[in-house]
Structure formats: structure tokens, C-alpha cells
């Protein structure tokens, strides 16, 4: 198909046959697909919508206004999450979950959230989970057996339904968290050296997998409400502290606040939240620390401008697709 014809079909498709022809042409080769996507996207972006009657714009604005006014009574957690763009893959694979479920073949659900997104999930027992930024949660279709077991890679906030007879376990690689009905968050990315558990209310214990003389067992460390516990996976050291100040704003409003945090460490968070990699062109700038806040729904460009204005020493940045190069200016 030549250029003119493709464009013609994108701009004013004539019936299903036309659309079919275009789609199969696009699927024919990666080059066709690329060309099709380029025109399709450009056409979409260049839309002016002048065809829309004024009355429609007005009545739709009224609808939006009504929603804005009514949402002041919104529930906790809802605002940040309801509109978050979320990619959820619910895979009903008959995973054989040896390690978790004692050789019982149970159908497992896997929910994955890509970088820059969050979602909430209701588990079969009524437990609520808010899953965030490139995280993955695996849980069974039904909780059989003596305990409720889920597996987490990444970051999540749990409101666990109380059931003393059936403890709730969150498996984090070789370690796990034991829960008895409570609200807490877990930070456990496989590539991080740290696992962190923040307890809002209730009771949980972190169970650290320890091995001596070839035998492995769990060493339990209990948390009190408003406490934060961090395990260094490499050294096995535990550090106890107060729950971070930004805990509630982060989970409820999506605001990430930071105090004297290094650019390097912030870059890691930005990668998780926005899927954008920051590359530092010199070492010094990595160590620079920042205090401030951003919202996970802000776009990366806004964030970079925030950093630029917050930085005492000027730096410049260059966007190249999914990476941003940062260079200090002297």
C-alpha cells in the first residue's frame, strides 16, 4: 500500500473491509506496523475536535463539574487510585505452587503493575492490597489450607482481614511477613538490598530466613504500630525506626516527600515510578541531596523542573526517549 492510501484509510475509513485491509497490511511486517502507528498517532494528536457542537462541550462540562463537587466526600485512598492508569494482567495459570502450597495444585492469580502505575486488588478473603510501581503479587484463587499465603515482588500496602485461625503470610523471596489482621506496607524489590515493613496498625512480624548448619528456619521479629523495620538482605542486619513521615501521604495521595535524599537514590525511585532512567554524566551530582515532594501522577518533565529549581548548583538535562542524561553546569 502506498503512503497516500494508508493515510486515506486512517483519515476516513470506508467500512469494515477497508479497516480489515489496513489492519492486515499493518500486521504484515514491522516496518508496515511502524509506519501505520506513526500516521495513526500523528492523526490522533492533530485532531482539533472542532466538529464537536458547543452544546455538547457545555453539557459534558456540567457532568464533570458535578463529579468534582460530589467527590469532596471521597473515601480514603480512592482519589489517587481511582484514576491511576493501571495495567493489570490477571493470569489464571494453573501454576504448581510447590513452595507455597504443599504440592496442592491451585489456580494462581498474578497481578502485575507496570512502572508508574498503581492498582488495588481485593483478595478472596476480603483483604485489600494496593500494589504500586512495577510490582507483582501472586495469590491463589481461594485460600485453602491453614494459612493465607501470597507472594510479593515490589511494593504494596495491605489491609488484611482479621482471621486468627488463618494467619496471613506475605512471602518476600526467602523471607516473609506474618500478619494477624492489620494495616501495613511492604517494600521488597528483588534487586534492592533492603526489605522494609512499615506497620500502621495491628500486629505483624517479619520472619527472616536464617540458616545454621545447613538447616533453615525463620527468625521472627515483631513490629509495634507506627514502627518501621528494615532488613539488609546482604548483612542480615535489622534496623528499627519510626514509621516514615511520608508514609500516609505516599499511600493515600501518591505524594512522595523526601528529606536530604541523594539524587542517586531519588533516581531509583523515579525509575520505578515513571519508568525513566536517569543517567548521571558526572559523579558529584549523584551525591547531591534534595528535599521536597512530588506526586506519582506528575509527569517526568514536571519532576525534572522541580529538581532543577530545587538544586543549589545548576545542572542541565537531556531527554532521550526513556533516559534522561544529567550534567552539572560549571
Amino acid at each position: 500500500m502506498d503512503k497516500e492510501k494508508i493515510i486515506q484509510k486512517i483519515v476516513s475509513p470506508k467500512g469494515a473491509d477497508d479497516q480489515h485491509e489496513l489492519l492486515s497490511w499493518a500486521n504484515n511486517s514491522t516496518e508496515n506496523k511502524r509506519e501505520y502507528i506513526r500516521y495513526k498517532n500523528l492523526w490522533a494528536i492533530l485532531q482539533r475536535g472542532e466538529e464537536m457542537p458547543k452544546q455538547h462541550v457545555e453539557s459534558d462540562f456540567k457532568a464533570v463539574k458535578a463529579r468534582i463537587n460530589s467527590s469532596s466526600k471521597r473515601m480514603l485512598f480512592m482519589p489517587a487510585l481511582r484514576y491511576a492508569a493501571v495495567f493489570v494482567v490477571a493470569l489464571f495459570t494453573g501454576l504448581l505452587a510447590h513452595h507455597l502450597f504443599l504440592n496442592i495444585d491451585i489456580s494462581m492469580n498474578v497481578v502485575e503493575v507496570p512502572k508508574g502505575n498503581r492498582t488495588s486488588i481485593s483478595l478472596p478473603d476480603g483483604t485489600q492490597v494496593w500494589l504500586s510501581n512495577g510490582s507483582k503479587l501472586t495469590y491463589p484463587e481461594t485460600f485453602r489450607g491453614k494459612s493465607r499465603d501470597v507472594e510479593l515482588m515490589g511494593e504494596a500496602y495491605f489491609t488484611v482481614t482479621h482471621n486468627a485461625d488463618k494467619p496471613f503470610f506475605v512471602k518476600l523471596g526467602s523471607h516473609r511477613v506474618k500478619v494477624l489482621g492489620t494495616e501495613f506496607s511492604v517494600l521488597a524489590y528483588p534487586n534492592d538490598s533492603i526489605i522494609q515493613v512499615d506497620l500502621a496498625s495491628g500486629k505483624v512480624q517479619l520472619e527472616v530466613n536464617t540458616s545454621t548448619h545447613g538447616k533453615s528456619y525463620y527468625r521472627s521479629v515483631a513490629l509495634n504500630p507506627l514502627q518501621s523495620l528494615a532488613l539488609n538482605k546482604l548483612t542480615g542486619k535489622l534496623r528499627r525506626s519510626r514509621i516514615p513521615n511520608n508514609f500516609y501521604t505516599y499511600w493515600q495521595e501518591g505524594n512522595y516527600t523526601f528529606l536530604d535524599e541523594s539524587f542517586e537514590s531519588l533516581a531509583q525511585k523515579i525509575d520505578r515510578i515513571y519508568g525513566v532512567q536517569l543517567i548521571f554524566e558526572d559523579e558529584r551530582i549523584k551525591q547531591r541531596t534534595f528535599s521536597g515532594a512530588f506526586n506519582v501522577d506528575d509527569n517526568i518533565y514536571t519532576i525534572m523542573e522541580v529538581f532543577k529549581s530545587a538544586s543549589q548548583k545548576p545542572f542541565s538535562y537531556r531527554v532521550e526517549g526513556k533516559t534522561i542524561r544529567i550534567k552539572s553546569i560549571n
Binding site: 503512503k3 497516500e4 493515510i7 483519515v11 469494515a16 479497516q19 480489515h20 489492519l23 492486515s24 499493518a26 500486521n27 506496523k33 501505520y36 502507528i37 506513526r38 500516521y39 495513526k40 498517532n41 500523528l42 492523526w43 490522533a44 494528536i45 492533530l46 485532531q47 482539533r48 475536535g49 472542532e50 466538529e51 464537536m52 462541550v57 459534558d60 462540562f61 457532568a63 464533570v64 463529579r67 468534582i68 467527590s71 482519589p79 481511582r82 484514576y83 492508569a85 493501571v86 495495567f87 493489570v88 494482567v89 490477571a90 506526586n295 501522577d297 506528575d298 509527569n299 517526568i300 518533565y301 514536571t302 523542573e305 522541580v306 531527554v319
Partner: protein, 195 residues
């Protein structure tokens, strides 16, 4: 282009309702038609409204029109993607090969779409620059026709010239755009000539 002024953006940052209404008026129609390229028109309206509600509630700090545009298009894009992917995971569509093919294609298209502020800055800049290069009369005709949405005979009447002259000026303008827009041209030409 018809960019919103920084003063308006400033008011918007202060959660001014009137400013919000201006933004809605300026961007709602084009966002709906944007989204309708990937989902149905009815769905598009709902998704864009969702984006505006979220926009008001988030009240993101913006510095200029390009950032505003980028923010809105990114939200709508994400809402469309969410809708398409949800449909993908619903079984009832699995046997409809045609629908699936289209859905998948749209998902890749939207995933690849760059809605950063830079994109909008670039498009705005290109159009602005081209406008500056047009001879005064030609620009006048073009603005009336393209940006103020007047029909050729209306432009002719407003500027007190013949309809033929209007057509000639538009052709001239498009020729200039042909050079600056290169890749974009075929689509831009459709947009400009479709009225």
C-alpha cells in the same frame, strides 16, 4: 498556535474554576477526538471526562501550555490504554480475531506514543515558525480559515476578497507548510483541507 497564556496556567495552578472551564473548552473536544481514534466515541468522552476530574483533583503544578497539553494527553492516553487492555483480558473478545488485532495494534500505538511536553512544544514551534514565514495576507486568510474555523466564503466576506483568492492563499500557505512539516504534511494537509 492557540496556546493558553501563562497567566491562565497560573490561575489554573491556583485552582481557579473559571480557568479550568477555559481549559476544558479548549482541550475537551480535541482530546475526545484524539481518544476516539482508539476507542469508541462514547467511551472516549467518558475517559476524557475522567482525565479532567483527575486533573482538577490532582491540581498538578504546571509552567506552560505545553506541559498542560502533555499532562492532559498523557492522562487520556493512559486511560485509553487501560480500557483497551481491560478489553484484551476479557474473554468474550478472544474469538473475534479482527477486533483483537485492532486492539493490539492500538495498544502498541498508544504505548509508543510520545506525549511529553517536548512533543507539543515542537509541534507548536513548527507551526508558529511557519506562520511567521507566511506573507501577511496569506497568514490572515489561514488564521481565519484554520484557527477561527471559518468557511471559505465566510473568510472571503470577512476580508473582502473573492473566494478564489481565499483558496489561492490557502494553497500558498499549505505549500509553505509542506516544506516545514515534511513528515507531518500528508496528515496536516487532510486536516486543513477537510473543512
Amino acid at each position: 498556535m492557540d496556546a493558553l497564556t501563562n497567566e491562565l496556567i497560573e490561575l489554573l495552578n491556583q485552582k481557579n474554576k473559571a480557568a479550568f472551564e477555559v481549559v476544558f473548552g479548549a482541550y475537551y473536544p480535541r482530546l475526545v477526538y484524539f481518544a476516539a481514534e482508539y476507542v469508541s466515541h462514547e467511551e472516549a468522552k467518558g475517559l476524557v471526562q475522567d482525565a479532567f476530574v483527575a486533573f482538577w483533583e490532582k491540581n498538578p503544578a504546571l509552567q506552560n501550555n505545553s506541559q498542560l497539553q502533555s499532562y492532559l494527553y498523557t492522562s487520556v492516553k493512559n486511560n485509553c490504554l487501560m480500557r483497551l487492555r481491560r478489553e484484551q483480558s476479557q474473554k468474550k473478545y478472544i474469538n473475534e480475531a479482527e477486533y483483537r488485532m485492532q486492539n493490539q495494534l492500538y495498544v502498541s500505538a498508544l504505548t509508543e506514543m510520545d506525549t511529553s511536553a517536548l512533543t507539543f512544544q515542537e509541534i507548536e514551534l513548527i507551526i508558529q515558525k511557519t506562520m511567521e514565514e507566511l506573507p501577511p495576507r496569506c497568514r490572515e486568510v489561514f488564521v481565519e480559515s484554520r484557527f477561527n474555523g471559518k468557511k471559505n466564503h465566510e473568510v472571503a466576506k470577512a476580508l473582502n476578497i473573492s473566494e478564489k483568492a481565499v483558496e489561492a492563499q490557502i494553497t500558498k500557505a499549505l505549500k509553505t507548510f509542506r516544506i516545514t512539516l515534511k513528515d507531518y504534511l500528508p496528515l496536516v494537509a487532510y486536516l486543513f483541507l477537510s473543512r
